[in-house]
Symmetry: C2
Subunit: 384 residues, 2 copies
Amino acid sequence: MNTIIEQSFSVPFKYPVCFSEDIFSIENKLFVDLLAKDRHAKVLFVVDKGVNEAHPHLIAQLNAYAEAHSDSFSIPCDPIVVVGGEASKNDESIYKKVVEATHLYGIDRHSYIAVIGGGAVIDMVGFAAAISHRGIRLIRIPTTVLSQNDSAVGVKNSVNLFGKKNYLGTFTPPYAVLNDFNFLKTLDDRDWRSGISEAIKVALIKDLSFFTWIEAHSAALAKREMKPMQELIIRCAQMHLDHISGKDPFEFGSSRPLDFGHWAAHKLEHLTDFRVRHGEAVAIGIALDSTYSHLKGWISEADLLRIIAVFKTLGFQVFAPELGGESLIKGLQEFQEHLGGQLTIMLLKALGKGEEVHEMDHELIYQSVEMLKSFNQTENLVTN
Amino acid sequence: MNTIIEQSFSVPFKYPVCFSEDIFSIENKLFVDLLAKDRHAKVLFVVDKGVNEAHPHLIAQLNAYAEAHSDSFSIPCDPIVVVGGEASKNDESIYKKVVEATHLYGIDRHSYIAVIGGGAVIDMVGFAAAISHRGIRLIRIPTTVLSQNDSAVGVKNSVNLFGKKNYLGTFTPPYAVLNDFNFLKTLDDRDWRSGISEAIKVALIKDLSFFTWIEAHSAALAKREMKPMQELIIRCAQMHLDHISGKDPFEFGSSRPLDFGHWAAHKLEHLTDFRVRHGEAVAIGIALDSTYSHLKGWISEADLLRIIAVFKTLGFQVFAPELGGESLIKGLQEFQEHLGGQLTIMLLKALGKGEEVHEMDHELIYQSVEMLKSFNQTENLVTN
């Protein structure tokens, strides 16, 4: 005598991911054209402190842009400048400051928050936007290679809690993503390089032709040539967008995010107390799991050396002293807890073809670490 | 030379809304059957203090149920008991306690939070569940008429902030909703009655036959007969579910929630410092906007009197002294701010047929209030 009603519906999401240059020069209409035309728009700007320092005229430029386009939108207060990097996600007072601004300046569900910064700041502001009024429209303007080709084009946001990364967050697609390549010019060499490892990641598990392209352009990328970097970012972003829309955007099921090389990377960031940056750790994590794939008999030595050579040409380290010892192995267990359920690790069946396994041989991991150490010391790798 | 990638995808949501009795008696398998079978489930229970007091054996029963079904699921800690009513949404330490429990007891995205309580507690726990690990599965077990037929079957959660109701929240469909009619037996008369006004609301704007049914059963409902109450709840819940799945579940566009009678209700709750409960305020708000619809020439006096008579038979007041004066009119403006954009008010074109307007005549509102005052004083209304 139970009654059961099955509720079911689908919610359509749609957002543009744009690539441009100098988006706040007055003649660039990309930003204003994104805003809905049904009423005069109100836009709250939040700016990463690091970006503001590297671009000292940015806020004046934003004000001038708003002034010039005052028929379309207005800014209710000066842009809010927040600390950059992981620190912005560790202290709850920072996201709460953004929430409070939505209250003070009447930013409602039909208004906008535009965030300019690196991936961490975008994660944090995205969380504040997602929970205020059950979701204020968010325009993401990522400023690093890593956020432009990877984190900022997706559907997640987050802050840290209990010493755990991304403990609080939601799946909330942005209103729009605006990649401005101009911001890349002021990145330091480490940040320029770091984001490339996520492109190598998707290439290795999904698309041999993209890997071959990166390999061919690795010297140019290392020299900070802008044209191949733009192509790399657009191609990598497209692959991420396809992955998200392809199957399970909000990760309800057991489908995995694109996390090749990430179990060791997460652990390494912690073991080095974040001396090694995320993209650098991912490079080492990829190198490790590629070496493991080779030792397992899945990819040839020649293929492994191609991977290592690309990283070295780009200027990455493929080893860190903290990889030695048993701490690394604990990372496997933590990765399992992080995802919930069964351990799932992506390895390489071939260049451009990932395959999942559900256990890893600890002895083979130790051997892989030893190989990485010697790769790191070798000046010239012989590749085919 | 801008490049634009249009990302688009749909996310399917599905959840059962179940109606049963005595769901934690050991032989009732509804709850265990809901849990996914791919692994042993972990369920964190949160219980409304008021429910716990009215059902002093509830927690022992939950423990016995978990013990009897330990092959399917386990509870990692004693149920967390939280203060009930709006207070649970006003103090951030309460939802944070739930978030902290997910951390302490390893409640991940494949675990569950089951919340037993009134609408406010379900809103608050829903918010904690939605933001922890980007969404822990939530099983809602509403215990009041109002939450069983209305708030808990939908897709929203929230807490209050800055003195504003529901300032923080998300649109996050539950994993399942389990309505146990047994909980209704211990409601006080005011709470039993309150929830009926939301059913009258949907009936008046959408379904004449449902209104006629409520009218025919109003005396039985007033006498707390369980059978018509169960029918009312199921029918009202079904209408809400249809409304949500019908068009714009996450309210991206300008489609309105089912908020007939709610602009005055929200204001009245505040003006009376919550002496008047939500459902009671909604009854008065509906009576007000129905009277306004009559004075505007949209519904006949006979139809208006039928509406007023139903409320009076059920034991509702259709007037409160705080309706007088100019404060009420301010509620119109606040309602507009709350929804964002243009003012939109639902009125009645006929019984069972709502129609939206975008302005209200203040003089006609004052006249409606005067009429309500006299209706409230009249013992016997002459209805057809």
